[in-house]
Point group: C2
């Protein structure tokens, strides 16, 4: 195959990063079929939020000036037959990724989305505002292309290289050097690489991210939901809960990039909502980026321990799920794709049963 | 809600384009639940194709230089219980859209994806290479932002404004002026607007679009499939079939932007494959863009009639599904979202039964 990129160079060295290139076409063949059918009351997709933006002919790039919609959030859902009385779970993905994170794993196993449905929960999987099927605002890029504004005014896109993913997602200390106990299916590393999309970090420049409101709106429309975030979106459940505490029935922070410093009033609000933080193994390592002495994920872990302490001191019910403390080793940052991902899911499901709402009519 | 765009202006005039802004949050409430459960043998997602690209630190925007994957194609699938012996159907979306086109309609009705599954077919819905969950190559944009190359080297994004969608998708002669007989649920126009994403027209500058190969690869991996394209992707089934004629069991061109001029050898190859072209009503109208005297869709229709004639003259089985000729009026360009979209789907399903392969074990 040929590359169509004008400014990139194809490299056969890619074959050294995980499975050989020839294995790429095996993705469909590797998808496993469950032993029992999945029985859904309903499935589909819809959008939450969004605003009209008036754009110029140059900004739209097709036809005269007019209006488009920006800042909407795409959501795909599955409701299990007999499970619509159970608390819905909203699963949000991390940086440079999409809702695909929770679907079929890179090596073809059932994703958390289907597993939670099979355990009785309606599941809602968004694409973050500005990514995937939620789209983004192309106007600044077309303005720069036309010479209407200076190039440095466009947002910068980020991507995780394969070389960064290895240490940052804590599959191993370096590319192709997996930890002996890693739970990530590293032979499928090339499939994870395909999940990457450009990320302009909506709201990343100090502005509120519209997804906080979209998530709290979604939880409200669902008459209450468990909000689960991962990595970049790990703190989003907290921010959304602060916008509408009644709609947030439970907050699950999976490998959050950080737990934010909150004021005492915010802590008191969160003390009314069950909170679970989940971290994998090998936290005291570097990310493959920046200062090698900074243990980014250990620092995140500690910031969340501090949050848990403050919430509980205010009368709340916050807890840490640390598989290592249970003798389970080798979990990665992409814990929803790890080989023992259903074991971790079971811990979360048990926590929902005990802290949020016990499932009724669960089907498997 | 606030807009985060720096170069756009929010306009309350948006409320004049379809439903009032306040109705936007009603999307989930409007989603209808089917009368009977959906029973799936399997569902999930995977990628087809993709190549490693070596990128600089500036191009990646996060961490040092390294490799990312580009030109991969995301595919979501559902296989009905008892239907895995039936011919799979691959449904590709049009310009500035994603696979969402085939999911729940803007007004909350079942999408073609689920309907075809309920009628017994495994269904595969990609996001075109360079859009949605398939991502795109961000390197040129980051290079321009850094001043490394000149601004006019980046691809231009396109979007359909609401003002263009009205005439171009043939909902009405002008914004908020629906045809009296329109089949499109125009009250949900704002929900369709949310489906828009920036489109860099991969392969649009005279280079082969990698999705042609990805689709033929997917059809091959499925041991044969019906390839269905829409609008921009309307001709893709033809191009993919020419790459691997044996894997293309049937080609459905829904409202293709054009039927391409092919050489006699290509026509002879296509003569071995059943072909169905589908067009809606109100074709002899302008698009809201460019020359008002050009009847774009009528021209597309005629180019496909010409193709059908040539294929059949070479011994093939190509035909036009024109609902107007059957007395069905008012179908739009977004025919898979029209109010009578299941009636149109039934015509296509009947054609698959008669021309491609009769369904076994169909479930409803």
């Amino acid at each position: 195959m040929k590359t169509t990129g004008r400014l990139i160079a194809l490299s056969l060295a890619g074959a050294a990063l995980g499975a050989p290139g020839g294995a790429a076409a095996q993705a469909l063949k590797d998808v496993r079929t469950p032993d029992t059918p999945l029985i859904l009351k309903s499935q589909g997709s819809f959008y939450v939020g969004g605003e009209k933006a008036q754009q110029t002919q140059v900004q739209i790039g097709l036809g005269p000036a007019g209006h488009v919609t920006v800042n909407q959030m795409y959501v795909r859902f599955m409701v299990p037959q007999g499970g619509d009385g159970n608390v819905p779970v909203v699963m949000v993905h991390g940086a440079t990724l999409t809702g695909k994170s929770y679907e079929t794993t890179p090596d073809g196993r059932m994703g958390w989305d289907e597993y939670f449905v099979r355990r009785g929960h309606p599941v809602y999987v968004p694409d973050q505002v500005g990514r995937g099927r939620s789209g983004f605002n192309q106007a600044p890029f077309n303005d720069v292309r036309a010479g209407a504004v200076t190039p440095n005014t466009i947002p910068g896109f980020i991507r995780f290289s394969d070389e960064v993913s290895w240490p940052n997602f804590r599959f191993g200390s370096a590319p192709n050097a997996p930890y002996a106990d890693t739970q990530f299916p590293v032979a499928a590393m090339d499939e994870l690489s395909k999940q990457g999309v450009p990320d302009i970090r909506v709201g990343g420049a100090g502005q509120p991210n519209p997804i906080h409101r979209a998530l709290s709106d979604l939880a409200g429309q669902l008459n209450g939901a468990v909000l689960l975030g991962h990595s970049q979106s790990g703190p989003f459940p907290l921010f959304s809960a602060l916008l509408d505490p009644k709609a947030a029935k439970g907050l699950v922070l999976v490998e959050p990039g950080f737990c934010p410093p909150l004021n005492d009033e915010q802590i008191r609000t969160l003390a009314g909502i069950p909170i679970l933080v989940v971290f994998g193994d090998h936290r005291a390592t570097w990310t493959g980026m920046g200062d090698t002495t900074v243990k980014f994920w250990q620092r995140s872990f500690e910031s969340c321990q501090a949050l848990i302490g403050r919430v509980n001191a205010a009368g709340g019910k916050a807890e840490m799920l640390d598989p290592v403390a249970r003798g389970i080793r080798g979990n990665s940052h992409m814990i929803m794709q790890d080989r023992n991902h259903l074991q971790i899911a079971d811990f979360i499901l048990q926590w929902i049963d005990e802290r949020v709402a016990r499932r009724r009519g669960a089907s498997r």
